[in-house]
Symmetry: C2
Subunit: 337 residues, 2 copies
């Protein structure tokens, strides 16, 4: 079914049908109704490809996700969900591109086939080839997370450094003097994954400020790794009385490891961190943590992207969020020796 057929049946020209639909020029109520009747009857919808070709825009956003074979974390999933939601709200569709390596077919299709009006990139590395590629292609984009040199790009991120620092200060205030950081996986750190590096920065700075002794560990992004990590921590650093973490996926394992070691939280050991609310609330006892506002971040990313598409030459904007730390039940005064 195409617009010509509608026009024929309604006894008008194609342009009249087009204008009746868009309202961009006045159409007699009478003919408008006749056209609408035909459209309803035949269930006509403009062909998206033809419209995209003519208008030069696709009404579609690209969302670049980590390679699908890797299990997405809850946080990543939260971004996907909120981006899709926000896009749907603006009557935009979302094209998914699983892209990991630097020269990815799907990514290239999206970028250079002009299949989308703009792109949202997540899981940004400090040095990220995809960012460079998008800049070169001149395609509007917004990143969730930011690169080492963030001034030229449009992004939204959580201030991991500040949040982890706040957690450290909170624990120091409670009297803890020996604190561990349970970071993301060694692979992510090696790959220059921003949140892992910034968490470490914030940790180091706060620890130095307060004159604490500390140790920083990497930990795989899953429950078994969390359990192992706690075992190692208890063994190698028995003096440690508190930990901060940005590794939400390890939390169930951390909990299990502490339970198995007979460590009571927060009586014997305190823990705080940054995690999606879901993970924090499922922790036992519930985790004192800054809740990553995935919904707000995804929504903001779409908003920023739409602005950028509308005005590609406007100065870039950033959004660095510092959500409050929700005081729950996993932190308490340092145990008396």
């Amino acid at each position: 079914m195409n617009i010509g057929e509608i026009a024929r049946r309604a006894g008008v020209s194609r342009s009249t049908v087009s204008y009746a639909l868009s309202g961009k020029r006045p159409v007699t109520e009478e003919t408008r109704r006749r056209i609408q009747a035909v459209i309803d009857e035949l269930d006509y919808r403009p062909n998206a490809a033809a419209r995209a070709l003519k208008e030069g825009r696709t009404r579609t956003l690209g969302l670049v996700i980590p390679p699908a074979s890797l299990r997405l974390t809850d946080m990543q999933l939260g971004f996907v969900a909120s981006v899709v939601e926000a896009a749907a709200h603006a009557d935009l569709d979302v094209l998914l591109s699983p892209s990991g390596g630097d020269h990815d077919r799907s990514f290239e299709r999206v970028v250079s086939g002009r299949r989308v009006d703009g792109v949202i990139l997540m899981e940004i590395r400090l040095e990220d080839a995809r960012v460079a590629r998008l800049q070169q292609a001149g395609l509007p984009f917004v990143t969730i997370g930011h690169t080492a040199n963030p001034h030229g790009t449009c992004w939204v991120d959580v201030d991991y450094a500040t949040l982890i620092a706040r957690c450290v200060h909170h624990l120091a205030d409670l009297g803890h003097r020996d604190i561990a950081l349970i970071n993301r996986s060694a692979e992510l750190v090696a790959a220059g994954y921003g949140p892992a590096h910034r968490a470490l920065e914030g940790f180091a700075e706060a620890v130095a400020q307060r004159g604490l002794t500390s140790t920083a560990l990497t930990c795989g992004d899953d429950a078994p790794a969390g359990e192992t990590c706690i075992e190692r921590l208890r063994e190698d650093h028995p003096e440690i009385t508190a930990a901060v973490t940005v590794n939400e996926a390890a939390l169930p394992g951390i909990q299990r490891g502490l339970e198995r070691a007979g460590v009571s939280v927060p009586r014997d050991f305190s823990i705080a961190g940054v995690a999606a609310r879901h993970w924090a609330e499922d922790f036992r006892p519930q985790l004192t943590a800054a809740d990553v506002p995935t919904l707000e971040m995804g929504t903001s990313a779409v908003d920023l992207l739409l602005e950028r598409i509308a005005a590609p030459d406007a100065p870039v904007r950033h959004l660095l969020l510092t959500p409050p730390i929700s005081l729950r039940a996993s932190t308490g005064p340092v145990p008396i020796r």
Copy 2:
């Protein structure tokens, strides 16, 4: 950048460029190289919209997911990941459509705007308006899960009835005579969600066959609901010594509830079910369960869909998977009273 510009710079006609790219007719090696040089230099890629308009296909698949605001379950996420992966492997892009209600804008855009060559539908209800809509629109589609009347549609599903029945038989073999089913949420049951209904069927049939006494409970799809459910179960039915479940998201809560009640698994209580491997292995002790093969299902769904797109009039095909039950550590002989 368009094909005409490439042709101009290479000193050939547009069709020659097109044929050089598609290989659908011979092109002298010399001119082919000259064209390729220009293409490489300008980083040209055919415009997807123009190609879609001309060819009548978009090289894009639609994936209809539950409304993004609801948190996707691990299993749903597994489907999304494997579908995206399989599609990427076939050089196809995936357009996401979050669709819950019956008249959804995003869904309608995808279906009637011809934005995709075919659709994969998940979270199927026994009666599903979206299935009817797709049939009416004549758009090829495959469902993950199947409706009450599955003969006219192409689908891939797990045989929940058989799997749950097998779990019941396994427990009966171990001497259990009083068994509970922990089903999905009451809302899903009320909405006619297939897996919930088929689990109940299989449960009822096996229980009847073995002459067991039983009770069937619904339980919200999250940890707290699982905990509550176990409390209720222990209180109302203290005689129950085993449970089967299809509610993976409730597993952490079920585990916590059993621990809090001082119930040792499998010494005092056995539990088995159907769950993504991840959930089964994170359960303590590890859960005896049929592992839902999300990867295989997503891949198969894409395969079926591609077949269907290639031959829309071929007879429909189904895939009803019955993965083996992995014997882990959560089931044991009935406790002696």
